[in-house]
Amino acid sequence: MERSVSIGRIPTGRLGMWLLVVGELIIFGGLIACYLLYRLRYPEWEEAASHTNMLLGAINTFVLLTSSYTVVLAHKAAIHENVSKARTFLLITILLGLVFLGIKVVEYSEKIAAGYTIAGPSLFWSFYYTATGLHALHVIVGMIALFVIRQQIRSGPYLHRVELGALYWHMVDIIWIFLFPLFYIAK
């Protein structure tokens, strides 16, 4: 018996991915809420926050936003069933993700060299590494997902999965949009 039994009007993949995105946002929401509560209680975190590298953070924001644009172009190409174009834009998106992680590595090593590690001196740094680290983990997962989708669409009826990958990638982007002002701009 075939899948056509179901009379679903909403593609199941899209619905599932939206639910996953909601679940992920609530996890990050919990973490950000904890950070905000502490931040309000300890005004002295301003001093610690002034040591984050706003320039690198801003460049990373730019990189990630650009990657969101390229993943939309990949989605658009997928709608028009242009496989090779979709694959090109997916590759660009993955490479931009790699650039993001590279800048992150530079940033982390700079901080660790200056003596700001996950264990201190201020709890601010614990939050900084936990939030951006958890986010970076999601960037890696998103890159792997996009890579797998890129392989799958080469042969086989999986073009609709480009949209699902793009949804996840946008979520990664949106979380960063919250983390950047909270950890880099707010001094």
Binding site: V5, T12, L15, G16, F28, G30, L134
Partner: protein, 561 residues
């Protein structure tokens, strides 16, 4: 496509069939119930007869092991028994059949969720047998005790292989598995319903499962973040919950209970869904207030995420917040009273048949009422400040969780056993099983109310150290409670015997032995992979019992007229 031969491993181990996965969850859940029940027996025996050696275990428990056993008993019964059996087990077995589809929306994800759950079970069991001892910080994992506490804290790589770290890891894996499962339930229900199956024709069980999955998804996120923070506190030396480092242990309590309170409804709703299917079938009456029940539960779902701090009345929260959380908590009893009264109204003037499933269902409602009503006492901060951390609380939540996790699960097992195995459990043995379980459960849990009101605190390994609690009648009450636990154990052997006897017999059950109306009874017993030869079409709502001007006393959803 489902006709092709599958290897044993693809068919029974790494299967994507929702029924096999449902069985896998249920079997692991039942196994873990034995583990959790064994721990309960050991520490109950220790409480009743302090200092004496424990049959089937060994020497009397030292306080550290006692705390570890209590911790694991709570966590196992919640996350490795109630969740896998009620939510994942019954949900997987029934949702695709009840909505009339061939499988879950994402069968591969479904298989993955089970194996992640299995991994979490293995990690948990390993953490129980570490040389450094099991985790002993209570199932609520409160820091600073759970962050490093009074134990000597090992440095980074070694700190991973400690009971507490593995315990948290197991919990995180379990949450991941259940989130994935919940997404599957919701997508299946929304997008894969068969022709004619509108939302308000869905059986109440499907509604309640989906609302439970939704509550779980909304509430679990912050505690996942909290678990990551606590893991980092334990392993790499952050201080999120360490007051000496600027952290705040109360924050964990908020994160935990923001999830922990809704979690009670996450397991309650599937249980009420099971009861909501059984009671109309054996009362031969339509479910009373079907739509109202759905609306009430949606209200309760909303309220459930804004009442968490009633667990923290003595933790030093602002008294004005106490009032808010008291009012919210007591308010929750309104929608649930509506649901329970609707179930009772369904039975009113019905032609009730007390099969074993119906016995367990009505027993669940009766016992749960005791738990629900004492919950109103505890929801009031004035009373809670006195009763907090006493056995009154223990009695209260055993009167809620035992009916949910044990009585409702068993009701469901007796009810759907013929559908999924093709064989019917013996009714006589079933009734013996029910009465023994029910009587011994009350014998176990009711004395705890008296002990709690008299001031007996939880999490104390040996009450001989308190002169007041070491005298009569408290010692006798503790012995009675322990006899109750042993009795519950004996009752389960009757069940085991019934299972073996039934599975070995050659008698085949009818397709629809209870004359029920929902879609799963239209499938073969047991349903094949893919469930249907031709997909069923739905013509009516789920509870057409004793319709007027009809010769038959029920019309199934799949019958046109």
């Amino acid at each position: 496509m489902h006709k092709e031969q599958q290897s044993f491993i693809r068919k029974y181990i790494f299967s994507t069939d929702h029924k096999v996965i449902g069985f896998q969850y249920t079997i692991v859940g039942l196994f873990m119930a034995l583990v959790g029940g064994y721990l309960a027996y050991v520490f109950r025996y220790n409480l009743a007869f302090p200092g004496e050696s424990i049959p089937f275990f060994g020497d009397a428990l030292d306080p550290k092991t006692y705390n570890g056993f209590v911790t694991y008993h709570g966590a196992i019964m919640f996350f490795w028994v109630a969740m896998p059996i009620l939510l994942a087990g019954f949900g997987n077995l029934l949702i695709p059949l009840m909505v009339g589809t061939d499988d879950m929306a994402f069968p591969t994800v479904n298989m993955l969720s089970f194996w992640i759950f299995f991994l979490s079970t293995v990690v948990l069991l390993i953490s129980l047998f570490l040389p450094s001892g099991p985790f002993d910080g209570g199932w609520t994992i409160y820091p600073p005790l759970s962050a490093d506490g009074y134990h000597v804290k090992p440095s980074f790589p070694a700190s991973i292989a400690t009971g507490g770290t593995l315990f948290l890891l197991a919990l995180a894996l379990e949450f991941t598995s259940m989130i994935m499962g919940g997404i599957n339930f919701i997508v299946t229900t929304i997008a894969k319903r068969t022709q004619g199956m509108t939302l308000f024709r869905l059986p109440i069980f499907v509604w309640f499962q989906n609302i439970a999955a939704l509550i779980f998804m909304v509430s679990v996120g912050p505690v996942v973040a909290g678990a990551v923070m606590l893991l980092l506190d334990r392993t790499v030396g952050t201080g999120f919950f360490d007051p000496a480092r600027g952290g705040d242990p109360i924050l964990w309590q908020h994160l935990f209970w923001f999830f922990g309170h809704p979690e009670v409804y996450v397991i309650l709703l599937p249980a009420l869904g099971i009861i909501g299917e059984i009671i109309p079938t054996f009362s031969r009456k339509p479910l009373f207030g079907y739509r109202m029940m759905i609306y009430l539960v949606l209200v309760a779902a909303f309220l459930s995420v804004i009442v968490w701090a009633h667990h923290q009345f003595v933790a030093g929260i602002d008294p004005r917040m106490g009032t808010f959380f008291s009012v919210g908590t007591i308010l929750i009893s309104v929608p649930f009273a509506g649901v329970i009264l609707s179930l009772i109204a369904t039975m009113f003037q019905g032609k009730i048949r007390f099969t074993t499933a119906m016995c367990f269902a009505t027993g669940m409602v009766a016992a749960f009422l005791v738990g629900g009503l004492t919950g109103i006492f505890l929801g009031s901060d004035v009373f809670d400040i006195y009763a907090h951390d006493t056995y009154f609380v223990v009695a209260h939540f055993h009167y809620t969780v035992f009916p949910i996790a044990i009585l409702a699960s068993l009701a469901g097992i007796y009810y759907w056993f013929p559908k999924f195995t093709g064989k019917q459990l013996n009714e006589t043995l079933g009734k013996i099983h029910f009465w023994l379980t029910f009587i011994f459960f009350n014998l176990f849990a009711f004395p705890l109310f008296f002990l709690g009101l008299a001031g007996q605190h939880r999490r104390i390994a040996n009450y001989e150290v308190f002169d007041y609690l070491a005298q009569e009648p408290f010692t006798t009450l503790r012995v009675i409670a322990t006899i109750g636990v042993i009795g519950i154990w004996i009752a389960q052997f009757v069940f085991l015997w019934n299972l073996i006897k039934t599975l070995r017999s050659k008698e085949v059950a009818e397709r629809n032995p209870w004359n029920a109306t929902t879609l799963e009874w239209a499938a073969d017993s047991p349903p094949p992979h893919g469930n249907w030869q031709t997909p069923p079409v739905v013509y009516r709502w789920a509870y057409e019992y004793s319709p007027e001007n009809q010769t038959k006393d029920f019309i199934p959803q799949y019958v046109q007229e």
